[in-house]
């Protein structure tokens, strides 16, 4: 299935993907409104700035997701290969934050639910981090991984 991959040779560490991600999931029409209206939406992708390297990290949509297995509320499921959190069921205990080996689950701003990359299936359908990467460092492609 198609997944989001980052090429650390190309990632510039500009962090713009974080903003486009947060914006895409904010429901606002304008990016500046999403950030200026005090909502301060949280990105589901994170850019790491290491020693001379940068790369963006987001949910790997694992074959056997630990977050899903460990979720105490049964709020995490895998739908068509996409690991999703049901906000109606999530109680914000953050056992998923504790579990994800890649640090890809983000405590929600409200403190009551966790969020994560769902490949923009709930908004535009095209991962916005990929769409807006200024250096083509993030790609959305099928590398033969199972759904």
């Amino acid at each position: 299935m198609k997944k989001v991959y980052v090429n650390e040779e190309r990632c510039l560490g500009c962090h713009l993907c974080e903003y486009y991600c947060a914006f895409a999931n904010s429901g606002e029409q304008e990016m500046f409104k999403a950030f200026k209206l005090g909502k301060n939406p949280a990105p589901r992708i994170q850019v790491e700035d290491g020693k001379g390297i940068n790369f963006a990290v987001q949910c790997r949509h694992c074959d056997d997701p630990l977050c899903m297995k460990n979720c105490i509320a049964g709020a995490i499921s895998k739908v068509d290969g996409v690991v999703k959190i049901d906000p109606q069921k999530c109680v914000g205990c953050y056992t998923c934050v504790l579990s994800c080996p890649y640090g890809c689950i983000v405590p929600g701003k409200d403190g009551h639910s966790a969020t994560k990359c769902e490949l923009c299936t709930a908004n535009s359908g095209t991962p916005q981090c990929v769409q807006n990467c200024i250096n083509g460092a993030i790609v959305f492609e099928d590398r033969g991984e199972q759904a």
Binding site: E48, C62, C93, G103
Partner: protein, 413 residues
């Protein structure tokens, strides 16, 4: 009645077991027996229900069609009283016999209520473990009620947090001199205590109750506390009676091998809070009563019951929990060299030993990306192969060697 697979218990371990069986065996008949009458629900969510955050429906641990989709027969509200491992059947309270080919004991634990003088005179006394406990509390709790909670552990404090929504006047007492001793060290428990106290709770620590007299408790230090509701959350005990009746080996909890098969008997597996696990962070065997463990053990048991090979060999305690908006994530054992960061309620403590991460306590802002630390424990990563200094500063994949990171980022897990 006869089933290929019989599961006693209906929580995380049971769900894991069903999922494990159905990975390979789509047909074999499965029955779930539980003394609770509810669709599989998440036990820890009872405090969220009491608080009003979730409805009973939202507490479902698996979707409403879970049993049907997995072709599972349920016997809910029925108590199993004994297991005959020779003739391979489970006897129910009703006298019914359920024959099995393979049996999973996922019996969980029950509240431990120590003998306390006059406890029988208390009318509104509750444990806080099950759906029915919440329903019972909901029937009697009124706004502004005076609540006495015995036990400042995870259960007691989750109950307290939920009841704060009823503006209850709450007092928590514990024999220990600090709160949450099972998951926090002295320093962090003090921070959490202060945080909870700021929300109006009173703690009386290092004390126990001498006796009860209807709506009044007398403490060993002589203090008298009156209350409308009493919640006892002193501790839990594993439900091992069925295992014992089957002739399985039990020491504090049910003993199993790495495949979750019970020792001393055949065709019986056990998983969840009723079992003893080998803690990789302490090297000792004890009960690690946490949900992720239960599910994982159930899954491993299910896979083995259905004939595939699986082992569970990385048990260690871990908890993610929050009280009144202050979140904590902890794992492992708090021994070894400690890296520490302290900024008010934002605390990080990492414990390393023999070039391995052995445990951590994260609080407040520091919980972000905690799973990267958890994975270091789970995988017993040799810390000389990573940039541990960088990891101390923040959990990050940048600390891993390029090849490892490439594996994660370009291939996925």
């Amino acid at each position: 009645m006869k089933y290929e697979y019989v599961i006693i218990g209906n929580s995380a371990a049971a769900a894991g077991c069903i999922e494990g069986i159905r990975e390979t065996d789509k047909k074999g008949s499965i029955a779930v027996i539980s003394d609770e009458k509810y669709h599989i629900y998440s036990r820890p969510l009872i405090s969220y229900k009491l608080k009003g955050d979730v409805t009973e429906k939202q507490m479902a641990y698996r979707p409403a069609d879970f049993y049907k989709a997995n072709n599972v027969d349920t016997m809910l509200g029925k108590r199993a009283v004994s297991v005959d491992s020779k003739s391979k059947f489970v006897k129910l309270e009703s006298g019914e016999k359920i024959e099995y080919e393979k049996l999973l004991l996922a019996t969980g634990s029950k509240p431990f209520v120590p003998p306390m003088e006059g406890l029988d005179t208390v009318k509104n006394k509750f444990s806080f473990m099950k759906m029915d406990d919440v329903k019972d509390i909901e029937k009697v709790v009124k706004k502004g009620a005076k609540v006495l909670i015995v036990g400042a552990g995870l259960i007691g404090l989750k109950a307290a947090e939920a009841l704060e929504h009823y503006d209850c006047d709450m007092t928590v007492i514990d024999l220990a001199d600090r709160i949450l001793p099972s998951i926090l060290d002295k320093k962090t428990s003090e921070i959490m205590q202060k945080h909870i106290e700021d929300h109006g709770l009173k703690f009386i620590l290092g004390t126990s109750t001498k006796k009860f007299d209807k709506n009044k408790a007398v403490l060993t230090n002589g203090t008298e506390i009156s209350f409308d509701i009493l919640i006892t959350a002193v501790g839990v005990r594993p439900n091992t009676e069925l295992a014992e009746s089957a002739g399985a080996k039990v020491e504090r909890g049910i003993l199993t091998d790495k495949k979750q098969a019970c020792k001393g008997v055949k065709n019986i597996w056990a998983a969840g809070d009723c079992t003893v696990s080998d803690d990789i962070t302490t090297g000792t065997a004890h009960i690690i009563a946490i949900m992720p463990n239960a599910h994982e053990q159930g899954l491993v048991a299910g896979r083995n019951m259905a004939g595939s090979k699986a082992v569970f060999d990385h048990a260690f305690p871990m908890n993610a929990i929050g009280f009144f908006g202050l979140h904590i994530i902890t794992a492992g054992a708090y021994t070894g060299d400690c890296y520490e960061e302290n900024d008010g309620e934002n605390v990080k403590q990492l414990f390393s030993k023999d070039n391995k991460l052995n445990g951590f306590i994260l609080m407040g802002d520091k919980i972000k990306r905690a799973g990267i630390y958890t994975a270091l424990i789970r995988e017993q990563t040799d810390l000389t192969t990573v940039d541990y200094q960088l990891l101390c500063e923040a959990p990050q994949l940048a600390a891993f060697a390029h090849e490892k990171r490439y594996e994660i980022l370009s291939k996925g897990a």
